[in-house]
């Protein structure tokens, strides 16, 4: 056994059996969809509620910080199923909601997003990672990680 406390990578997706879905494959599908959002969306916001109907003060602060910086936001509501929050925490190593990711990298929660927005550093981070024109035509979208659909 290694002495190090290194966190184990999630095992790669198990082969799926056609017809039958076990709880295990559902969980790994969910983890896969969450990972997909984190890695492929320019800015991902995991929040309670949606940008149209925010269900928590901290989620609202993170969203407003991103809006103030003109960021495109892909939001994921974690409330529909507790497993979303659980899988997310395992992937990110961050215990609380909301969580903001830019180009696959965790920026932080509500307090960090707000501090960075107020100092102007959020714009700098967005420019560095997404390019100077990141806010051109920036939109807000919602992804449903349970079904894989987006709106």
């Amino acid at each position: 056994m290694s002495e190090s406390e290194q966190k184990l990578e999630a095992p790669s997706a198990k082969p799926t059996t056609p017809g039958g879905q076990t709880a295990g494959t559902q969980a790994s599908q969910l983890a896969g969809r969450i990972k997909d959002v984190i890695e492929n969306e320019p800015v991902a916001l995991f929040m309670k509620g949606t940008p149209q109907f925010v269900m928590c003060g901290n989620s609202s602060r993170a969203l407003e910080a991103l809006r103030a910086a003109g960021a495109p936001v892909t939001a994921v509501d974690i409330l529909p199923d507790p497993s979303i929050r659980q899988e997310l925490a395992e992937l990110s190593g961050w215990p609380t909601i909301p969580q903001v990711f830019v180009k696959g990298e965790l920026v932080g929660g509500a307090d960090i997003a707000q501090e960075l927005a107020e100092s102007g550093d959020l714009r700098t981070i967005l420019e560095e990672k997404l390019g100077a024109g990141y806010s051109d035509g920036a939109e807000e979208r919602v992804v449903d990680v349970l079904s894989g659909t987006r709106a």
Partner: protein, 77 residues
């Protein structure tokens, strides 16, 4: 009381803290504002500073004591 529990966990994690405050934001005993000034944060990016606080409070975060957490960290330099 939850405030005392959080304070003592933070004191253990940041024994040198120049400032250490836990406020019950709503009076309900589950929404907290935590403020810590410590040399442990010197030179660390904000994300890592907050991670140290989250780590110190891992247990109350996990067991549901903390419903909402706001963090303010400051280094000493």
């Amino acid at each position: 009381m939850a405030v005392e529990r959080l304070e003592s966990l933070l004191q253990d994690a940041f024994p040198d803290a120049a400032e250490l405050r836990v406020e019950d934001r709503t009076g309900g005993g589950d929404h907290f504002q935590v403020t810590v000034e410590s040399s442990s944060f010197d030179g660390l990016p904000l994300l890592e500073q907050h991670r140290l606080v989250n780590d110190a409070l891992a247990e109350p975060l996990r067991d549901g004591t903390i419903h909402e957490l706001r963090i303010k960290t400051r280094g000493t330099t």
